[in-house]
Symmetry: C2
Subunit: 373 residues, 2 copies
């Protein structure tokens, strides 16, 4: 931007009190510079991460510092009316606790392809009943503040950009492994959304020779063989095959198995669990081989709730197959790491989305997210 | 950009005579606007596309209109000294013919991973002897003008953006099928280069179950089973297997087969040639499935010299496998088309690269291409 546009921009934001003057800067010979900073008292922001089975809601100040957050289990199939009411209640409760009557906005990440302009999801395979439900409009009405919706993994990528590895990498891919699998693609510091807003849906890359049914209606998709749901299914299958295994015992005891069970058993050295974890890691690594060879990112960052439960064995399998399969030049400087911000990265991303959008609105600009298709 | 920065920018370019005032615009009530346009007399530009086996060199005016171009066969393994001398001679000859003594710049696309900042290629599998040879510096010295180097398919994507489908699509993938296979990825109207400049090297996506050796030193890469070279190899293998086939006859006659031979025979309905063409199309379609699902482009544009010789059968196979394998939402609006600009798209891209760079230099800005790593 030119000097004069920056001046105009900051004047508008100072006038709207989103920016404030900070302490005087060092003199570099001429006039002392005045440092500007976000006005932390301008308002508060709620960041929400919705998964298929969990809900994280956090209250943040304008520096993206968390005041308090809460996590609970949900079933996303309960539908938008139930879940959005629950989110609004938690948000209102957090605001009361912290005597916040200046809620500036709410950002919400959901596990499906989002039309950010409309503020809803389009044909989401894992969110029955949510298709084209006006999520943003509904929260805006209920809470009386700006509301923005985006894909959950896109928001994780934004969170990682703001507070994690993105501070030193312009090109990275955030891979979220949960009930499904998705990616947020950062290209040149900008989130790549694609023409229909479904860029990063790597969970639906076909895995050669696999026939497991996927929630999208097809078979052999990556998320049908490597997601948290797929890991749980593989463990249940192994447990049913052989009652004598630890997985078999646990299945009889609990009636079902989760990715968390498998991760815990693998960490303890159980052979069956280790094999399942490595197999899932192999499939993810193979699919990411195409992504890394195509995009040449500086980092692949793994997150999502399944990563909470998966140990180094999983990460090692993913790394092995990317380094084996991708073009060597594309992996010369490549880091493949676990996000240091799990499980809060999605909430932080939702919060930074809201702050970015509010800065756009209050400088009189177009909504950069809502302006896209 | 703000109004004042645009004013400053255009003033600089008017002063440097890269822009000139055109006819008066329509009045919209206020002062009549003055239309600005590139000054076609400011200088000429040479655009070069280097393939493994061919060379295209064209002289363009500042509107990217071609004055004359020439194509010849080469062997890229002859090395940079020989090939660059040949390019410089053709460029000088074109300038003499058109009485051009104001050559402003030369742009050159080469079939390997390019370090655009250094103006050379890095570990190019198909360009023996070219590793880190100072291509840009060498042409700059010889011709006394600015010189820019980029990957051949990146330049095809820029050419397509300037004059082809890119005029209506911000997100598209240009796939160049020649002796090798590569892609130029346009994300939000910007060419995505990746951290090491090798984004788009889709020719090295591994194809499951394939073991054909690739020039990169590994086996089973896409370009080892679907490129022009791979098509020719498959045809020769079939010809050797069975002397009685048309491929066998032709092989005995010629001593070797080319992708062009296969394309011509397939167009005539030869069963063996058709099978080879469809097999190559299937592999390319399968690899592009991952790319389309990851990036959700509006268009996949196929180009490169092999596309000159491949008929609708090839395009149909590519389309079939992308529409079958990629996420339906990611293909909802997707066009998969042959570039309308083959074989000139690479030269046009090289020319537009030079013009863009000169506009940057002469407004006193940083070199946007050379400024990247």
């Amino acid at each position: 931007m030119s000097r004069s546009s920056i001046g105009q921009y900051t004047d508008e934001l100072l006038q709207a009190r989103l920016l404030e003057e900070g302490p005087e800067g060092e003199s570099t010979g001429g006039r002392r510079s005045r440092l500007l900073r976000l006005n932390s008292r301008w308002g508060h922001v709620v960041g929400v991460a919705v998964g298929a089975t969990f809900l994280n809601v956090g209250l943040f100040d304008f520096y993206s510092e968390e005041l308090e957050s809460t996590a609970c289990e949900i079933d996303i199939a309960a539908g938008p009316r139930v879940i959005l009411a629950q989110i609004a209640e938690i948000a209102e409760c957090l605001c009361r606790t912290h005597r916040t009557n200046n809620l500036a906005g709410i950002g919400i990440g959901v596990p499906g392809p989002v039309n950010v302009q409309k503020g809803w999801v389009e044909s989401p395979p894992t969110m029955p009943g949510w298709n084209r439900y006006p999520i943003a409009a509904c929260l805006q009405d209920r809470l009386g503040c700006e509301a923005y919706v985006d894909n959950d993994v896109n928001l994780m990528a934004l969170g990682e950009q703001a507070m994690g590895i993105g501070r030193t990498a312009e090109d990275f891919v955030f891979v979220g492994v949960g009930t499904g699998i998705g990616a947020g693609i950062m290209a040149g510091g900008v989130l790549h959304r694609g023409h229909n807003g479904c860029a990063g849906e790597i969970g639906h890359i076909p895995i050669w020779g696999e026939k497991a049914p996927c929630l999208c209606g097809r078979v052999g998709c990556l998320e049908a063989v490597a997601s948290g749901a797929a890991i749980a299914k593989a463990a249940e299958k192994r447990g049913r095959q052989d009652n004598g295994t630890i997985l078999g015992h646990l299945l009889q005891q609990q009636g079902q198995l989760t990715a968390e069970d498998v991760g815990r058993l693998a960490a303890g050295g159980d052979e069956d669990a280790c094999a399942i974890v490595q197999e899932a890691g192999r499939h993810l690594g193979q699919a990411l081989t195409s992504v890394v060879t195509s995009l040449n990112p500086l980092a692949v960052v793994l997150g999502g709730e399944v990563l909470l439960h998966m140990g180094d064995l999983y990460l090692a399998a993913v790394r092995e197959h990317i380094y084996k399969g991708a073009l060597p030049l594309a992996t010369r400087d490549l880091s493949i790491v676990r996000s240091s911000m799990i499980p809060k990265v999605g909430m932080v991303g939702a919060c930074t989305l809201v702050i970015d959008q509010l800065l756009e609105v209050h400088r009189g600009g177009r909504l950069s997210v809502h302006g896209q298709s």
